[in-house]
Amino acid sequence: MTATLAALLEEVATAPVPIADPGPVIDELRDRLETAATEAVDGLGAEHLPVRLPKARVAELLACEQLAVTASASGRSLSEPVVRGRILDRLLHHHVHGGGPAPGPALAVAVGAFEAERDDEVVAWLDHDPDLRARLAEDASGFAERLQTLGPIDPAWWPRCEDRLRVDLADGAVVCAAQLDLVAGGGPTGRPMVILEAKSGPFTADHRDGLFWYALLAALRHGSPPRGVIGWSAWEGRAWWQPVTADVLRGAATRGEEALARLAALLGGRAPDRTACRACAWCAERPTCPAARPLDGGEDGGGFGDGW
């Protein structure tokens, strides 16, 4: 659907409340995750703690355990899709917090933000290839135009970008942290909380699952679930929203439990399973992996939960 942000928020705010009494649901889900986390770190030495479970690791563990192990060991390096996603994030931040349209090229706005963050790695990366920079400058201009189409947000929602939250499980031995693209409402605003995730590519099922994971963490952190989640693709200029129901939260918790169970097995020394998945296209293991899926199109070089 193509809608303005103001209209989407209005729709979320006026829709029927999806969970009338969230307390028991949140207690149930916290208990389930606590149990899974406690089992995952049972017997693990203090020097290995805390174990971190960000959104991307949940997705990787469920897609292919070897992918999760490889990504954890090697870190996440910069790539065109990753940097494109970060550029979009900075343009969204300016859209929300900048106080009006920025003069000049959109890429310069994003680079200004990277410089203010002292993200020298991204700034240097952008400088190393003029053709790449030109492509990203074009993408940035498109994103900026589509942000204008998305429209402003009523300041009464107290919108804030990069909202951070953390849920500690098993006495802090497992840490689930998140940084949300945009949060509106909640807390002192008197309005329902809504989480928006912006993607620089098409919005996929992986992104939807990631957004539901955020909804679960927000529910556990604040003791009250977000009323709805919005996914917005800056590539297509389209958005969708979904109410956060008990089933949405339970589904996210089930994925979290499964990820923790697999993590427990890996921490216990079991060799990681290899499963063909979408990440085969860019996985470092691809040349030697017997399970790797044949390439059926261009390599998108992205990553689970990051950059798109």
């Binding site: 020097e47 106080g99 002192p188």
Partner: protein, 292 residues
């Protein structure tokens, strides 16, 4: 108030404990100010480093410049202070006004840096301040805060006779109830949390000559809340922290290399590239690949 006697004796006690540990620092005549470039400043950062890895203090370098994350607390507290005084605009608008005011009216290094930012950089700074202010508003139990509250305060105490200054930044102080508020967004262990609580209580007592009643620590990311009454035990812990930090910083300035204690703090240590034990720890020798 039963706290006053200890508050008054604490200054003498601190001087007796800390002066021998600061024996290599510059001697300062009574009533004279220490030259700033020779002043050993003991802040939360030094207290934490001394508790984690003594060797890391030798890698401390000059402040290498502002960035959005560093400005978060100072500007976020300014936003909260304006809200406390009745500003009714939304946090983004207030934060933009705070940035603009700092840029126009202050001679600070922060103001100079803010003046160099373009639209994207300014939005990044406003973003950080807004998150800090809104997260704080959501975390405190009542708004507006009690009369006599002020956001963004600091306490200092100079060790008599030596160029050593103890400093504690406190995010909010409610003076009538002598309550201190410490805001954090960093994951920490129990020992680190206790430091967060004891250090401001200790320095505030030295600075004002009065014991605070309580200190509350709010974790803005997890929502965890910890409140302690300030007792003699808390002040004793603060004095222990001060002694360890003064000794460690003095040794780092004037002494041979201290022993290393690798741990998760190596990730943010400026010496990580030149410290073999730290490098080994970071490269995974002691780490599980799923921990970070």
């Amino acid at each position: 108030m039963g706290g006053e006697p200890r508050a008054l004796t604490l200054r003498r006690e601190a001087a007796e404990v800390l002066a021998p540990l600061a024996g290599l620092t510059l001697v300062v005549a009574p009533g004279a100010a220490a030259p700033f470039d020779q002043l050993v400043r003991i802040r939360e950062h030094q207290v934490d480093r001394a508790a984690e890895c003594l060797a890391s203090l030798a890698h401390e370098s000059e402040f290498d410049g502002w960035r959005a994350a560093f400005a978060r607390r100072r500007l976020g507290l300014a936003v909260l202070e304006r809200m406390r005084k009745g500003a009714s605009a939304d946090p983004s608008r207030i934060a933009r006004d705070v940035v603009d005011h700092e840029r126009r009216t202050s001679q600070s290094g922060l103001a100079s840096w803010l003046g160099e930012l373009g639209p994207g950089g300014a939005a990044a700074v406003v973003r950080e301040a807004v998150w800090f202010a809104v997260a704080t508003r959501a975390a405190v139990r009542s708004w507006p805060p009690g009369d006599g509250t002020r956001f963004g305060d600091a306490f200092t105490w100079d060790l008599p006779g030596r160029a050593v200054r103890l400093e504690a930044a406190v995010d909010a102080v409610t003076r009538p109830t002598r309550s201190l508020l410490v805001l954090t967004s960093a994951l920490d262990d129990d020992e680190g949390e206790r430091r967060d609580l004891a250090w401001p209580a200790f320095v505030a007592t030295l600075s004002t000559g009065q014991m605070p009643n309580d200190v509350t620590r709010l974790d803005l990311t997890s929502g965890d809340r910890r409140r302690i009454p300030v007792t003699d035990d808390v002040l004793d812990e603060g004095l222990t922290l001060a002694a360890r930090a003064v000794e460690a910083v003095t040794a780092a300035w004037f002494g041979p290399p201290a022993p290393t204690a690798p741990g998760r703090w190596c990730e943010r240590c400026p010496g990580r590239d030149t410290c073999p034990p730290g490098r080994r720890w970071l490269d995974g020798g002691a780490r599980n690949p799923h921990a970070s």
